[in-house]
Symmetry: C2
Subunit: 343 residues, 2 copies
């Protein structure tokens, strides 16, 4: 809760939605929150969409309860306002992203497996009560898709799929120029897709899915451990503790075992992209998330995707990285303030 | 070319798009064509959307060339006008459905594997030249989806997937209240989806796909033959010649072998519906086409779909059957005449 991030490169966004032309952008502010599984990130932006402050904190288990999260968010708003030399009363709108299926119309997080006790949480109402600020609650991967469309790898592309690969695997779907949510807010739950060569499985809401188990971060790390063991290198403690993106770094440096892990992951990801392409025929796939945004995964996956005549979407790594959700949140809040809610 | 169908039950549609209120519906007409793999069907409707004539003909191989098809369609228009005691000049718009990937913006059929020589055929321009009538060219399964939305099983549902199972297997996707085509007009090519328990395959445009090979009509008939052989009933000539929907009829009567075939088909179809549901989360799946519209397939598939917590779309059989494409064509032509092209 003490950590105040300095403003980095990607943060002063420069661009703005064309409809927002204001002579005094500091007349008011909008805020975005990304409630992650282990970390909460926030951004404050002026009405031109320019980030003026950021804040983030690590959760303790206890702090992950819905009410505690709302208190932390309120504290984050105050802290960012101090940075920007303004007051919370000047914040006109807030958008919060949660890592789970979210009913945007009712502002309710239906289920978030990585946050204990988050079933049917009325996040929007709770935040509005806590902060007094009009709020949107959205799924975090959907926010990342909106962010990439506004400021990132999917600028000007009205038909794309954002794939988030971190601990979990999910997709944000952008069609007909706006987010597509599905009938029960669960469109894009690709972590439950079946994987070629495995047994049939009936997806269960409170269990992780087949694709996620295999190419989510922990699945990749498990494959790496198995290969290390077979190769009798498991005694190297430093090697055995690598996380997925570090394994991909090693692959980039030419380590043959790591290349195997990268290639297997890329093949399975390419199969999923093949399925997505058969159904959506998107113009672009953006690979994001802590594991998915790794450049060498994008390149390795492209080779497999090229073999599929029905899947010629361009593949791009996320250009906003862990900021994508926050940019998406700011974009939705700007649209809400402007009365032109697009998604 | 000699066959003139009498007007059947489903044809005098009754309903009409709400924006079409005309005092003299016979002021003009619109026409729809469904170019099938073996049969061409046509419908003429007044400006209230009421069918006033129908016509259909079987193709010879030679008649399937694009130019010959346009000539047949022109002849069909004249024949329907004779039936309705009007003239071709009173037809204000025509929509033609082709069994292949169709670029609606350019009116070009990109590829239609079941019609030899149909690669990049400028169907819209050819028909406009032949008939002098403004034309839309669309994919036939997409037309069927529009038809079911207008007059059939998906009335008032703005988020559904129409699955066509006949010789081929494909899907028409209706999202945000309108058809979704994808970036290169190939959204919904589900015939190429992988099937659990089979080997990885890279979809190739000019070959049939894995799902289609297994649960398309010929695939079902092949499974039936294999089971008959194992059961030593293949000597029964009448049994060995059954088509897929007749095999389902037998299952309905309680034949154990036929029930096996039905159950296997339903399981694989349910897997595909599971995949579709993970990605689109549709409110409804409509099962159509000569094989897919069979009531007992819908019931058998429902049982498997129920096991999937992420797939709770309602399942319904098509209520328009082989007329769905024609209703869709009429609906698009009415919208075009009315200047409110919705899809």
């Amino acid at each position: 809760m003490d950590l105040v991030e300095s403003l980095g490169e990607g943060e002063s966004s420069g661009g703005r939605p064309p409809e927002l032309i204001r002579f005094n952008a500091q007349h008011g502010y909008v805020a975005g929150v990304d409630i992650g599984g282990t970390r909460l990130r926030m951004m404050l932006a002026d009405l031109n969409g320019k980030a003026v402050a950021q804040w983030s904190t690590q959760f303790t288990e206890k702090q992950k309860a819905p009410k505690a999260v709302c208190t932390i968010i309120h504290e984050g708003l105050r802290e960012m306002c101090r940075q920007a030399e303004t007051t919370v009363r000047k914040i006109l709108h807030l958008t919060a992203g949660a890592p789970g299926i979210t009913d945007v119309d009712h502002g309710v997080v239906r289920s978030a497996p990585n946050l204990v006790g988050w079933d049917d949480v009325p996040l929007r109402a709770m935040l509005e009560r806590e902060t007094g600020i009009g709020t949107i609650a959205e799924n975090d991967t959907n926010l990342a898709a909106v962010g990439e469309h506004w400021q990132g790898s999917a600028r000007d592309i009205d038909n794309f799929v954002f794939i988030a690969m971190g601990t979990g695997v999910g997709a944000g779907i952008f069609l007909h120029g706006r987010l597509y949510h599905g009938a029960e807010w669960s469109a894009g739950e690709i972590g439950y897709l079946g994987v070629t060569g495995t047994l049939r499985e009936s997806p269960q809401m409170r269990q992780t899915g087949q694709l996620e188990r295999i190419i989510g971060g922990p699945g990749i790390e498990e494959q790496w451990s198995r290969r290390l063991k077979r190769d009798r290198r498991q005694s190297d403690r430093a090697l055995s503790k690598l996380c997925a993106s570090q394994i991909f770094d090693l692959a980039q440096e030419g380590d043959p075992l790591a290349i195997h892990v990268l290639t297997d992951t890329a093949q399975i990801l390419a199969d999923a992209i093949g399925t997505i392409s058969l159904l959506f025929n998107p113009r672009l796939i953006v690979l994001g998330g802590g594991v998915g945004a790794h450049e060498c995964l994008c390149r390795a996956t492209e080779k497999f995707v090229a073999k599929n005549e029905f899947a010629h979407p361009r593949l791009r790594s996320s250009s906003l990285g862990t900021q994508a959700q926050l940019f998406g949140a700011i974009s939705l809040s700007l649209a809400a303030v402007n009365g032109t809610l697009i998604s």
